[in-house]
Amino acid sequence: SAAGKGNHSSAVGTENTPMLTKPRLTELVREVDTTTQLDEDVEELLLQIIDDFVEDTVKSTSAFAKHRKANKIEVRDVQLHFERKYNMWIPGFGTDELRP
């Protein structure tokens, strides 16, 4: 949705600290596979993907919260979004007992 925006400068939050840095990304890649290395343009792309992922998540969950006529996003809104869109369940947020 945010394609064509050019760069991921929007990933920059407070005081120019990015949400995700390349060293942090490299660390994660090592956790997955010690032999894998990423090209620099792949790193750029992954940072952009994460930026879009966050934006999309917050926008969708804002809509969920509004639909509930609530004034802020709750954990369950985010879980619903991840489960519906990515079939992804992140445990440990206090709502697990509701699961089968």
């Binding site: 997955v32 992954l46 994460i50 804002s62």
Partner: protein, 70 residues
């Protein structure tokens, strides 16, 4: 059987930066800033999503090398 997994306490993304991003979007939509749990959850999901992508990329890259070897 049932697999039990849990997340590390460590937060993957820079939390203040992520929270600023969340705040910017929610404020735009007339909502209050959500609790820190929301940011932590989003951070975990980002980590999971990236791992997923990198795992796939590793397989694809290996496959590409195998083809060259032939």
């Amino acid at each position: 059987g049932t697999q039990i997994r849990s997340c590390k306490d460590e937060v993957f993304l820079n939390l203040p930066a992520l929270q600023a991003r969340i705040r910017a979007i929610t404020t735009e939509r007339g909502l209050e800033e959500p609790s820190q749990d929301v940011a932590v959850l989003i951070s975990h999901a980002c980590q999971e999503r990236l791992k997923n992508i990198v795992e796939k990329l590793a397989v694809i890259a290996e496959h590409r090398i195998d083809v060259i070897k032939l």
